[in-house]
């Protein structure tokens, strides 16, 4: 967890979604390979990082896990700024949390950069006998709204790695294409690219300025 690790890109990701859908456990599974059945509610925001490899490049994900309760929206939405990716999580066993996805998308539209990459994540896929949201329905909703889609289980680890890997890869593709475009057109990168830190020698310098 040293801050002195080297990376080529730093991407800020936010985890959002209703209370109790498992955002914190998705994060702890991805960053520390931990799952805690007795975890407490998240207050405000919590922070973690992990680096992965994409196309031989080191991508460091700086992930902000947010509290799900409405009251914290004013605090947590400030963290959307500068985020290039969002995992919008619902609980496949609680239909209500899926219905809230619309409201969360609106939150992102209001507070995040317009080109943020969003992945819809149906968590708790281990609860097969309690499933309340059909996979096809969510998949279709995602397709209609331009979201990536995956079902995960932080408890049994399934697809957790893939979900982060996929969103980070997508962001990397967009960003690297953009970098090519902008170098060709000689224009400044858009706001969504502002936090990308190229692998220059100052990698040890804190790049948390995005938040």
């Amino acid at each position: 967890m040293s801050g002195n690790d080297e990376y080529d890109y730093l991407f800020k990701i936010v985890l959002i979604g209703d209370s109790g859908v498992g955002k914190s456990n998705l994060l702890s599974r991805f960053t520390r390979n931990e799952f805690n059945l007795e975890s407490k509610s998240t207050i405000g925001v919590e922070f973690a990082t992990r680096s992965i490899q994409v196309d031989g490049k080191t991508i460091k994900a700086q992930i902000w896990d947010t509290a799900g309760q409405e009251r914290y929206r004013a605090i947590t939405s400030a963290y959307y700024r500068g985020a290039v990716g969002a995992l919008l999580v619902y609980d496949i066993a609680k239909h209500q949390t899926y219905e809230s996805v619309i409201r969360w998308l609106k939150e992102l539209r209001d507070h995040a950069d317009s080109n943020i990459v969003i992945m819809l994540v149906g968590n708790k896929s281990d609860l097969r006998h309690l499933r309340a949201v059909p996979t096809d329905e969510a998949k279709q909703f995602a397709a209609e709204n331009g979201l990536f889609f995956i079902e995960t289980s932080a408890l049994d680890s399934s697809n957790v790695e893939q979900s982060f890997q996929q969103i980070l890869t997508e962001i990397y593709r967009i960003v690297s294409n953009k970098a090519i475009e902008s170098s060709q057109d000689n224009v400044q990168p858009g706001s969504g690219a502002q936090i990308i830190v190229p692998s220059v020698d100052d990698h040890t310098k804190n790049a948390g300025g995005c938040c």
């Binding site: 002195n4 207050i43 925001v45 922070f47 973690a48 009251r71 804190n206 948390g208």
Partner: protein
């Protein structure tokens, strides 16, 4: 909290001599060694095993008391605190020959009680208890004296009554307390009955759902708070409070804040060897009502921490930042350079009054002091938060953004001993003495004292 009395603690009255002088030292040492008895509570609440408990009403066996004293001493030993001698107050107590006066009130027990304990003069802990007894059983409680004494920690067997008084929940006039309690418990009971009379369907769905999600993850390590009967009780208290306070409603973290009251009030009714299962439904009803009212009193003082956009917390974060910048500019400059914003780590410290960072037992000890302070939860807490951050100044100054965030999200405070908490409180007190009322501290510009 509701009292208008402003007082100085551990430093004598009227002088203010400690301002900007190092004369606070004796009170720090004193406060650090007030000899809290976290062990009892840890045995009951902290572990998943059943354990013996102390109860004010019960005569203790000598052996049990000796065991307890030894364990307490052992528990405090591995502290990393400065080279201060072991407090004498931690030795075995000598309660065995005492006829204790019950401090808790039942509806059958309206008459004022008398009969103070005869104590051994050599035993500081017993002396402290004795002082509390005198105060709590006096026909009119001397609240100022009670605050002064409580700052250094309240003996477990006196805590429930002391908290009820310090919270302003019961009157200082002892002869009126039982009737007041009876009335308040009935009032809550009626309100609860009315609220839940039409079943779950009639409740505010969003509110009820949120509470139902959070109650099972409230103090998840404690067997007591994982009991179904306890969880139903917590749900009712939180719902009733939220329904009565629509401006804030239930906010995550308030579920944490009610647990110290349950902890203290339940303990009052547990005799040695008893567990939560031995608590009768009617006793739990009383505990629930008392917890409801004390939570209400607590939140009355910090309600804007939980209203829209949580302005109280935002304001306190600004104050904390200013305070840290004045005390330790190097640290403030470093945090700034690393783009650390105080809200990123201090939000939870304030929202949950550090309950996520320290154990329940130590929270209870902290609240003894907070209740003794003038605006302990709204104001003194900021000094505690600042003192906590400043403790790691040297470490933090060697860290970058990511390291600082990771460290401050999980500071090593959960395993702290009570002694370490008491030193923290003393440091906070010192900062308060040095920086409170200092004109350039708060931009609001409080008038300078004396």
């Amino acid at each position: 909290m509701s009292s208008n009395v402003r007082h100085t603690i551990g430093a004598g009255r009227g002088g203010g001599f400690w301002k900007r002088t190092p004369a606070y030292t004796p009170s720090i040492v004193d406060a650090a060694f007030s000899g809290s008895d976290a062990l009892d509570e840890k045995t009951i609440f902290g572990s998943k095993e059943q354990g013996s408990s102390s109860s004010f009403q019960q005569t203790k066996s000598k052996d049990a008391k000796v065991d307890e004293g030894m364990s307490t001493t052992q528990q405090l030993q591995p502290s990393s605190s400065p080279s201060l001698s072991e407090p004498s107050s931690l030795g075995p107590g000598s309660f065995e020959n005492q006829e204790k006066t019950p401090l808790h009130h039942t509806t059958q027990n309206h008459q004022p009680q008398q009969q103070l304990a005869v104590v051994s003069a050599s035993d500081k802990k017993t002396q402290t208890s004795s002082k509390f007894y005198s105060l709590l059983t006096a026909s009119n409680a001397d609240i100022e004296q009670l605050r002064k004494l409580s700052w250094k920690g309240i003996p477990a067997e006196c805590r429930a009554e002391a908290w009820r008084l310090l919270m302003g929940y019961i009157p200082i006039n002892r002869s009126r307390r039982a009737a007041t309690l009876q009335r308040k418990r009935k009032e809550y009971g009626d309100w609860r009955q009315q609220t839940f009379a039409k079943g779950e369907e009639a409740l505010d769905r969003t509110l009820w759902r949120q509470i139902r999600i959070d109650v099972p993850r409230t103090t998840p390590g404690s067997t007591v708070f994982q009991q179904a009967r306890m969880q139903r009780s917590l749900e009712r208290v939180l719902y009733c409070w939220a329904a009565r306070h629509p401006a804030s409603g239930y906010v995550q973290g308030i579920n944490d804040l009610v647990t110290p009251f349950y902890h203290v009030f339940l303990k009052e009714h547990m005799e040695p060897g008893q567990t939560f299962d031995d608590i009768s439904d009617s006793t739990l009803d009383s505990v629930e009502a008392d917890s409801f009212w004390c939570l209400t009193k607590l939140l009355d003082g910090i309600q804007d921490n939980y209203t829209h956009a949580q302005p109280g917390i935002q304001r306190q974060i600004v104050k904390m930042r200013e305070l840290v910048a004045r005390i330790d500019s190097k640290l403030a400059v470093h945090l700034d350079a690393e783009n650390i914003e105080f809200i990123q780590f201090a939000f939870r410290w304030i929202n949950c009054l550090l309950m996520r960072e320290v154990s329940l037992e130590n929270t209870v000890r902290m609240w003894d002091t907070y209740l003794a302070e003038d605006q302990g939860f709204a104001k003194f807490h900021i000094y505690v938060c600042a003192a906590l951050l400043l403790k790691w100044s040297a470490d933090l100054r060697a860290m970058d953004f990511q390291q600082i965030m990771i460290f401050l999200q999980r500071p090593p405070t959960l395993s702290w001993s009570t002694k370490e908490i008491e030193i923290l409180l003393s440091e906070a007190y010192m900062y308060k003495c040095l920086y409170d009322d200092s004109p350039s501290h708060y931009s609001g510009g409080r008038p300078q004292a004396g």
